[in-house]
Amino acid sequence: MTALTVPTARTKDDVEPAAAERTSGSGQVLKSPHLDVLESEGIHIMREVAAEFERPVLLFSGGKDSAVMLHLARKAFWPAPVPFPLMHVDTGHNFPEVLAYRDEFVERFELRLVVASVQSYIDSGKLRERVDGTRNPLQIQPLLDGITDNKFDAVFGGGRRDEEKARAKERIYSLRDEFGQWDPRRQRPELWNLYNGRHKPGEHVRVFPLSNWTELDVWEYVERERVELPSIYFAHEREVFKRNGMWLTPGEWGGPKDGEPLQRKRVRYRTVGDMSCTGAVESASSTISDVIAEIAISTITERGATRADDKLSEAAMEDRKREGYF
């Protein structure tokens, strides 16, 4: 075997912490810290999809998971541009900060954006507003139509298996029928790093490159890679009111009602979703490091803390996945 030439350092090694070391016979130190392993896996998945599917799309909500996915996509295909468009399901109740962030990113990286608008479905009478004003369940139809109309055959989602019980069994490649439905018994076993993306016309595959990441991994990666995020992830002063144990932001979507007094709080968001069902948490964390420290000692999961829609029933997520939810 050829003797290994041992360069003194990769540039990256200079800044990498000295964890996860492995020394080869030649005295060479090869590190595989968890974030590098996760990043490499994510890039591998994105390249597989770009190579094997005809029309992939990346679901971009402006949330931290989709920001990390986009970052991975930029890394995977550099120096070429990201070879697929983004799709955003706009509930009409999105945080304005997040929309501004989305638009700036699309412009800066010369991306193509497809918007599926819940509001236009409501305006045209194809969907009816729910009594409780929550629009998350209304996203399914515009999402599926967006996929069908654009003939997207692979749809990248930022879902992570640590988020919720029903997601723990989700595959990295998740086959959906022509109604976008997820059937746990029809999912294919996934072995090694081999993914089977074969599907019939009209079907598509949801692909989750962050499957093996946890919330903490995402934040550590955001910090390491200096991934930019919408400002609402960090502590800011905001008028909020309490409903079902969550701090919600007022807006045209239907709050506050009588008996829901507004209070000024220092808050941040752990997830970014529809304003009607995404709660803020009281927080003074104004930097990524603060947020990581806060999460590391948090005693509540991010969905439990901030998503009203998951509290509806124990099987809430399972049901929505079956219907074609992310």
Binding site: W78, A100, D217, S231, T301
Partner: protein
């Protein structure tokens, strides 16, 4: 848009703190054992005692435990995912769990013990570096244990742990444990498993799972978590031959690079390489990443390689160093585990997905069916059904560069796919990993 703070605000000075010194190693492991052995309880205990379960999840489990009429908390409910499973009290598929300690990040493939055990365990073990096999101290090493052991050995899992559970039900008796440990050692060594550890635990009470047990002073080894935190992980990439499957060609202006994830070895700028299956030779002139060009890269990094010559290189090609070439085959023998309820038989036309290449193939013949408990081979078998493991010969429509699975997990594995409905029919391992392992074990014996 008034009042919207600037997007980049998060990157202002305080956001530019140096990277945290918190990158840790990652261990992927799998668990095998049945509900009766207390596997869900053990996994629940591991998550609970390593403080990986947050308050709202615990509350939900407590509530569900009460609804089911239990006193206290059923830890097993922490890991039951789907409603269908909760209603039937079974686990139907591999579930992935995540927890982190100060020392490591863990990815746990939790595989059910009884329903479709082989299919699920093969799936879980394919990415695992370690498998925890769980048994009931009252029953000892049983047929199922041997099955789990054989599957782990077949899949090339490097580290095995036997967790002898329910020690409380045998009065924490050292002699019971010692007898089981000896049985297991004999079975593991017979399969060529070089590294195995046996730990006496009580998942229900938590003894030796995360905290050392006060009831078993005779045991001085690590707790299960301590072992998981300290067992050596990662492949010695530098000791392996280079295997770089080309995934995707990146073109931009005058740039042409071959993107992929190194399956094995260390690839350096200046290395001579052979492109397989064409056999063309060239030199690596650059290894690029988004962050910066590097002088060398190692598995499992995702990189982009630039080559000296303009060759016809594309997805499905494999770059290796000269003198280290794998076999180029049009026909090969393999061990397969049938994952589909449709049986595999001679004459079946299928697709084979190997690294980044998909080729048409025909099952030339089924050579034998393996009895996973006795390792006996039924050579009269002419088909393989769901959960069965056996040997087949495949003829393929285009040459493939393959390694034996026992030599390289990623260039020695493949999927068998149904050409018509696209389902994954079988997991394939090139060669005969069980015989390789057992004969190696025999050769090492004094």
């Amino acid at each position: 848009m008034k009042g919207i703070s600037k997007v980049t605000s998060v990157l202002e000075p305080e956001g530019l703190a140096p990277r945290l010194d918190r990158d840790v190693e990652m261990l992927r492991f799998a668990t095998a054992g049945s509900v009766d052995d207390g596997k869900s309880t053990l996994v629940g205990r591991l998550l609970h005692d390593s403080k990986s379960v947050l308050a709202d999840t615990l509350e939900a489990v407590e509530r569900a435990s009460r609804d089911r009429g239990s006193d206290g908390m059923e830890l097993a409910l922490l890991t039951d995912g789907l409603r269908a499973e909760r209603e039937q009290g079974i686990t139907i598929d591999v579930a992935y769990r995540y927890f982190t300690t100060a020392r490591r990040k863990f990815v746990l493939a939790d595989t059910p013990g009884h329903v479709q055990y082989t299919r699920n365990m093969v799936t879980g073990a394919s990415t695992a570096e370690l498998v925890v096999i769980l048994i009931d101290a009252r029953k000892g090493v049983v047929e199922q244990t041997r099955r789990h052991l054989a599957v782990a050995a077949l899949l090339g899992v490097r580290h095995l742990v036997l967790a002898v559970n329910k020690m409380d039900l045998v009065d924490f008796d050292q002699s019971v444990f010692a007898a089981i440990a000896a049985d297991f050692a004999a079975a593991a060594e017979g399969l060529g498993v070089v590294d195995h550890t046996v730990i006496p635990v009580s998942a229900l009470a938590g003894d030796n799972v995360v905290e050392p047990s006060a009831a078993m002073p005779w045991y001085s080894g690590p707790t299960l978590l301590e072992h998981l935190e300290t067992v050596e992980v990662g492949i010695d990439a530098a000791g392996q031959q280079v295997r770089f499957p080309v995934q995707y060609v990146i073109r931009s202006a005058d740039y042409r690079g071959y993107a992929g994830q190194l399956a094995a070895g260390v690839l350096s700028v200046g290395d001579d390489v052979v492109v397989l299956p064409s056999g063309l030779r060239t030199v690596v002139v650059g290894i690029d990443t988004f962050d910066n060009p590097v002088d060398f890269a190692y598995a499992p990094q995702s990189i982009t390689v630039r080559l000296a010559d303009e060759l016809d290189v594309g997805r499905g090609d494999l770059l290796v160093r000269p003198g280290e070439e794998p076999r180029i085959v049009r026909e090969f023998e393999a061990t397969v585990c049938q994952l589909s309820d449709r049986p595999l038989a001679a004459g079946d036309r299928v697709l084979v997905k190997h690294t980044t290449r998909v080729v048409k193939a025909v099952v030339d013949q089924v050579n034998y069916r393996l009895d996973i408990e006795t390792l006996g081979r039924d050579e009269a078998a002419d088909s393989l059904s769901l959960n069965e493991i056996g040997g087949i010969t495949l003829r393929i429509a285009a040459p493939l560069a393959v390694d034996d699975y026992a030599h390289d997990r990623l260039t020695g594995s493949f999927l068998v796919i149904d050409e018509h409905d696209g389902q994954t029919l079988a997991a394939g391992l090139v060669g005969d990993p069980i015989t390789s392992a057992t004969s190696a074990a025999g050769a090492d014996a004094p």
